[in-house]
Symmetry: C2
């Protein structure tokens, strides 16, 4: 069994590749919930939904997030009623948030709500939230503290970030499914997907004693760089690195994860950096995932590296 | 100024007629909120919305409720995800609930949320909820206690009702707009619209000392019968009368309101009953509202009766 740790679009793509090359019961994807928020009374979990839509084959292929064939009557009506809506909630996507909100109000955990939703969406493998407790990422910026979606969507990552706060993280327990996967005797590898190291994987790795548990697990830990050629494939990872005084490079990602890693995957374009990376076994391969075939190939490369470790 | 007390479709139609024949600042419609409920985390106010959609000219002309030109992608997706949704929430209609829910979560009152929503919807006259406090109508039936929408929509009024409970009514205060309208020196008439006497107007009249305030107001009180030819024009009013051991007739409606009434309007088909009604001045007129012209004509008749009282 492979445990993948993922944020949004980039993580979902590699998780999808792993799902394609593994059996349905051989993959558990644990997803960041620090991006979650309440919007118009509904609980929205952007990363969980991106992963679920991607793994069920329902994701919008143009955006990477949201549902294919989405309609926008709700969004248009909000605009018509003067709301200037800054977070795009499609009509079909709203059903996901409504069902989840209803389940949570009925006292079910986010893990239970996610299991039920992913089953009805038709996700073949398992998706687990990193925690059933609320963690909320805030960007402390030159414009003040911004809740994650305010920073990420409303302000399009434009404010300069001084630091990030993961509110609630100190008290949050890893989800039962996350702990079970880490303790599973059949765990063959832990894959840190090409997600933002600060916004997506930091909340997952920052939970309780998760880093110690990952280090202690006999399975190798492999990260795939979300930085290719000095730029983020998607999102503000490189911009944040600059703001944090770090060179935006695949090598900096490897350094960020440090001793946690047994293996590290970087793109062929970054081959010159391979020699700089101390510690993990480095694999150089084509890591940009434009097609399903790209996803499956990268997944196979990652699994092949894990077997060497 | 005219104060109209209304529930859903029937009340909305007469309020619309009054709005057509009066100036925009000459009508205040106070609406039942006993039908309100929380659905998938959203605050839904069916009667307020029916009145607002009708008075803004946005109502679906075929159903009387909901928005014209509605789409159902959200509803379809709920079904596709196995939810068997029993309450129809259109994609555009959802925007109303989302905006209201957001306003209430931000600490605004239902009156404030309603004022803002009705303005953006383009309602020319004023609509006020009966109360800013929660009142929830329950039908105590042969299948047990059913929350109003469970009884009305999910079970299509099929269970036999033993009695109705208006939970929260004892502690609910009339809304500031309701009280202001009753105390206005320009109040010319109080019109009890052709709404269900038990489900729609009983919660309004049962608030605090509202009945005493209405009796004490110098303006005449006129009710329009929702029962025509022994049947309800719409909804379960006649069925409830039978279950409560009352003959379903316009005369029973007049008796129900009793001393509160100065005037009573019944349909031409019920002319033979006019002599039975003791107390209020009776007007016999065509009360079925199939067109906007019907609404305006009935409104003119009601205002003409009020001027005689």
């Amino acid at each position: 069994m492979i445990l993948a740790l993922a944020g949004g679009v980039g993580g979902a793509k590699l998780a999808h590749g792993l799902q394609m090359v593994l059996g349905a019961d051989e993959l558990v994807t644990v997803v960041n919930t620090g991006d979650d928020f309440e919007h118009y009374g509904l609980r929205v979990c952007p990363d969980l939904d991106t992963v679920a839509y991607t793994l069920s084959g329902r994701a919008n292929p143009e955006t990477g997030w949201g549902l294919a064939g989405e309609t926008w009557a709700f969004h248009g009506q909000l605009s018509a009623l003067g709301q200037a809506p800054w977070f795009q909630l499609g009509d079909k996507d709203l059903a996901t948030h409504a069902i989840r909100t209803s389940a949570l109000r009925d006292g079910r955990t986010l893990s239970e709500a996610t299991r039920s939703l992913t089953r009805t969406l038709g996700v073949p493998s398992r998706i687990e939230p990193m925690s059933d407790d609320d963690v909320r990422t805030f960007a402390i910026t030159d414009e003040g503290a911004l809740a994650f979606q305010e920073y990420f969507v409303r302000r399009r990552c434009e404010p300069v970030v001084e630091r990030l706060e993961y509110r609630g993280l100190g008290d949050a327990r890893p989800s039962p499914g996350f702990l079970a996967a880490l303790e599973s005797p059949s765990l063959r590898a832990i894959v840190i997907c090409p997600s933002n190291p600060y916004l997506s994987t930091a909340p997952i790795l920052g939970l309780a004693d998760i880093e110690a548990r990952i280090s202690a697990a006999p399975a190798p830990v492999i990260a795939v760089s979300p930085i290719v050629g000095g730029a983020a494939v998607k999102g503000p990872a490189a911009k944040l690195m600059v703001e944090f005084g770090t060179e935006p490079s695949a090598a900096s990602v490897a350094e960020h994860y440090g001793d946690l890693l047994d293996g590290f995957v970087l793109d062929t374009i970054d081959e010159p950096l391979a020699g700089e990376i101390r510690g993990p076994r480095v694999m150089v391969t084509a890591s940009i995932m434009k097609s399903d075939a790209d996803r499956a190939r990268l997944a196979r490369d990652v699994l092949s590296l894990s077997e060497q470790l």
